[in-house]
Amino acid sequence: MSRLALFVPMAGAAWVGECDPRLRVVAAGLIALAVVSLQTRTAAGLALALCALLALAAGSGSGTLVRRLLALEGFMLVLLVMLPFSVPGPALFALGPLSASEAGLARAILIVLKANAVALAVLALVGSMEPVVLGHALARLRVPAKLVQLFLFTVRYVGVIHDEYRRLRQAMRARAFVARADRHTWRSFGWLIGMLLVRSFERSERIVAAMKCRGFDGRFHLFDRFAWRPRDTVLGAVLLVAIAGVLLLEHGA
């Protein structure tokens, strides 16, 4: 069993789990598109508030949510520091020869609001979905079959390869390997990565052999039990109204 946290879905409220996965994927996409198009801080702020509400209602535990958002906030911090100094405009304050512009700060804040809103919406709607179900949903949404298959193979084998990595790494540690900044360390890591590549390649050959043994003819077949229900339509409509409201605030105000 793989212990890779990347592919363990977050806990979610029952109502999200019962939604048609296609609705969740499409809604997340629409929300992302709408939020990215926003240009005013008021609308972006409202979008962030609504997305936070959605995330809370979707039952993503705040602990997990914060941990996943932290990965994003690192980038945001860089933006907040860099943008005021790189966007031209009236100076807000100066640090020696560098001056921070008001326009730059405003743009940085807008991006932070929008990025967090999108991340919250995606985490709430897609983050709690079993990756395999996401693959099925993408296939049903007519995403090209090759891309879906690549995604599903990744989900299937990233854990297997990670386990191989862990075993090799343990074997190194068992022989007293400690990473340092020297030639020996870099060479050892080189071998580790090379060995992983070789093993992955060999495994892919064995997988193809096993597929041939079962008469593989180039087609993949997926079974899903998606069923669109009236409540999915209702939820979709509610989300659409919310998106329209935010866009109205943006353009009307």
Binding site: M1, F153, V160
Partner: protein, 239 residues
């Protein structure tokens, strides 16, 4: 005597510049369960792979199900009728869910999705895995993976079962479940194994691969440990 299901004659095969098989003769008849034993690296896995055309021999002939088999086209039919269970189930289970994986073979054999699903569910039921259909393959335990992989092979309704260390890495309970199923099956089998319990309970005869050649091994309850270590052609008291 009836024609054998699989027949290898004078098979030679080399790997990375090293001769692995050097004139192997072998025949599998209906109802036989043959244990294939031999030291690590003796070429047991290669021999299984040769039987279904995953490798090509450098010399020798392969007959399967009453016909000479030489090219990829020939072996496609062989693979449908002789199911191979791989040593590492992670190589075999590549579909997202158990149901999809077990139905993969039947679909490739031209069944409709509905038929394939019915066959898959039936096969899972035979192995006591009926509740597993919706499970995600990469979240199964090692023992579960092996049984699902076996179900995936059996769903193609093969006439011969080829197994590469089927009990390797299984705990006692999973092994018992697997052996019990295999004991009750009437399929002809060839299986590679170092597992004494499996060989003793399942095999009707054993062959040993040594120095690139295949010899009969003596098989009875207490002499097996003996047979596993070195092959003998000499007679044992079988009583």
């Amino acid at each position: 005597m009836k024609q054998p299901l699989l027949e290898l004659s004078g098979l030679r095969f080399g790997f990375a510049g090293r001769a692995v098989l050097d004139g192997v003769d072998f025949a599998l008849h209906a109802g036989e369960r043959v244990a294939l034993i031999g030291a690590n690296g003796a070429g047991k896995t290669s021999l299984l792979h040769l039987m279904v055309g995953l490798h090509r021999p450098s010399a020798g002939r392969i007959r399967a199900f009453g016909a000479e088999r030489a090219c990829e086209e020939d072996f496609r039919e062989v693979r449908a009728r002789a199911g191979l269970l791989f040593q590492d189930s992670d190589d075999q289970l590549f579909c997202p869910t158990v149901l999809e994986d077990v139905a993969f073979g039947p679909l490739n054999l031209g069944r409709t999705p509905r038929e394939a699903q019915a066959i898959a569910l039936h096969t899972l039921g035979l192995l006591g895995l009926a509740d597993f259909a919706e499970r995600v393959t990469h979240r199964l335990s090692g023992g579960e993976k092996r049984l699902v992989a076996l179900a995936a092979v059996l769903a193609m309704q093969p006439e011969v079962l080829l197994m590469d260390e089927p009990t390797n890495g299984l705990d006692e309970r999973a092994e018992e479940r697997l052996i019990r199923y295999l004991e009750g099956s009437s399929l002809a089998m060839v299986f590679v194994s170092h597992d004494r319990r499996l060989v003793e309970r399942l095999a009707t005869r054993a062959v040993v691969l040594e120095n690139g050649r295949l010899g009969e091994a003596v098989l009875h309850a207490h002499a097996y440990s003996h047979a596993a270590l070195h092959a003998h052609a000499r007679a044992h008291d079988l009583s």
